[in-house]
Symmetry: C2
Subunit: 348 residues, 2 copies
């Protein structure tokens, strides 16, 4: 890689998973910031909040009482965007107004009974229980023959639209393939047909050899800043073994995945000594659609912060209308994440 191109000049990098380029302007990271400053989360939550609809024993929007759960806990979202009983219907007016109904299930997973924790502040053993639940939910949901895609994700932090600080994530399972999945499906399929190996196996091999963007390298999982990252501190966890989805994780892999999650998110929190916000989620093979050998399980982390706990990257004008853009390079971001301690700043 000719160093000056990457380190100094504006350039585009190809996102292998979507087939789309992102614009990098490394020289621009010196730009002063006079724009919006985010409020930083005040971090003094009680272990139990009587007004929180996720705390054990509390009442939810529909009147149900939560069980007095001690690990993690899952339920159908009281304000689900997708519903189980939507009937099939399509619209097509002159090939110009095209629509169809969509059927699905939206679930919420509380990661811990403790209102005041987040993934990086939880014990690895307790994160492992969340991994177990994700696996169980994935297997159960894929047993519904009409479900074709299952999105497991977490919005962390108010800045990422999270409306309750109690540690939790979501699962949206649905009957058709979302747009990002269609892109990744196409790209991985084309690669697999050509090379008889998964795109991410070969990509991971090259990244491990170069060691310029690797952040965590554990027994079964790697966390790295992808070459084509769009968000300043974007990362991706990739399984070393080529599996299609979380149902295939072994017990050892689940333990290692929990460990990898812990290490990555602790480092995130340490960068700006703040509860690091992000949207994160697994991309997995579609279900009930036959063999999906070309799919390789991975998990994306999209954190919005750029310069401090209160200055984020805005994906706005040019980015919305034309092309995602970043200033700081993927290599520099990887360095910054790797430099962080694996001990949480609150525990130091």
């Amino acid at each position: 890689m000719p160093e000056p191109l990457i380190n100094e000049h504006p350039h585009k990098r190809l996102n292998l998973l979507t087939g789309e380029f992102i614009l990098v302007s490394p020289h621009r990271s010196k730009r002063p910031w006079q724009g919006q400053i985010e409020e930083t989360a005040t971090d003094s939550r009680p272990a139990y909040d009587p007004s929180c609809y996720l705390c054990p024993g509390n009442q939810r929007a529909d009147g149900t009482l939560n069980p007095k759960y001690s690990d993690s806990f899952v339920f159908i979202n009281d304000f689900s965007a997708l519903l189980v009983d939507t009937e099939k219907a399509t619209v097509n007016e002159e090939d110009l107004l095209i629509a169809e109904t969509e059927r699905g299930i939206c679930k919420v997973i509380a990661f811990s009974p403790r209102h005041d924790l987040t993934l990086p502040e939880m014990e690895t053993d307790d994160i492992k229980k969340v991994v177990d639940l994700w696996q169980k939910e994935f297997i159960e949901l894929s047993q519904e023959s009409w479900i074709n895609y299952i999105q497991i994700f977490e919005n962390k932090g108010a800045i990422m639209g999270c409306s309750n600080p109690h540690p939790h994530g979501q699962i949206w399972a649905e009957s058709s393939l979302p747009v990002e999945i269609l892109k990744e499906n196409r790209q991985q399929q084309a690669y697999f047909e050509k090379h008889q190996k998964s795109l991410l196996s070969n990509y991971l091999e090259l990244e491990l050899k170069k060691d310029e963007r690797i952040v965590v390298n554990n027994e079964f999982f790697v966390a790295l800043v992808p070459f084509w990252a769009a968000w300043p501190f974007e990362t991706m966890i990739i399984s070393k073994r080529h599996v299609q989805d979380i149902s295939q994780f072994t017990e050892d892999e689940k333990i290692d995945f929990a460990k990898t999650l812990k290490e990555l998110t602790v480092r995130y929190d340490n960068i700006f000594k703040t509860s690091f916000p992000y949207s994160a989620g697994m991309h997995q093979a579609p279900v009930n659609l036959g063999e999906q050998k070309h799919w390789h399980w991975h998990m994306h982390f999209y954190p919005p912060l750029l310069r401090s706990a209160s200055v984020k990257k805005f994906m706005v004008g040019y980015e919305m209308l034309a092309n995602p853009q970043r200033d700081i390079t993927a290599e520099r971001a990887a360095e910054m994440i790797k430099q962080q301690s694996t001990i949480h700043y609150k525990a130091q």
Copy 2:
């Protein structure tokens, strides 16, 4: 259109311009909001701010003094993401790390010498002068044979990453086609080849006939909420005449375009009695790439607000990882915009 599908059930609608679906969950607009509340802009700016780098006569980051301009004023961005003198270079490691340098010009346009105005608060005659300048800049930039795409846009409001409230927009001109343009190019080309008419001509004709999503209908321009809108109050201005770019606008069209901009943005401000934030920008045919008959000029408005001046729509977890999603329908949003007065709330 079967009414229940649109008004009550979760469904997907096809964005004709990108070829991608968006998810609509109409039943979900009743969801209570306990999440992040944005700060609303305090609206007491002076007509001239001695510390503003866009006000007439003031000094910019590089030491230059702004002229004492009386209409609008354009200059090269002091922190350009793209640079004119970037040399061509490409990278390809095993078809896995793919990058190339990108050359471009980034400009800033101050819309008015008055620090305290915004487009909706400006006189239509003064907006017309901005339109004149956009046209002039587009023509001049397209004379550079190495430029292939010109993005004219505005980020309005701190919530949209705008770092200076002085009314201004930007132009990024570059050597390759950005990802959103590639999508719209493909879709418009396929349609034009099949129908010998532009996609947006036929779409506009159908929308005018149905009159369910039209917001402004002037002599030469229409503003509407597209059937496939993703943002709550997203709109699109379409030229009634099938032209490729702003260089083809006649004098009468430019006056009518200024009038349409004024009407749309005044209505926006009136919805929540606030300076309505958005990212907006024109999509136009690529330049210096031969005939582009399939392209039809249009301008997108992507405003983030959802329920009030301080509660926005978060395009986060599911949206980033899977598929853009909205709650309120395009038809309901169009109704709400249309109901607004065309007299700005501050002048009422």
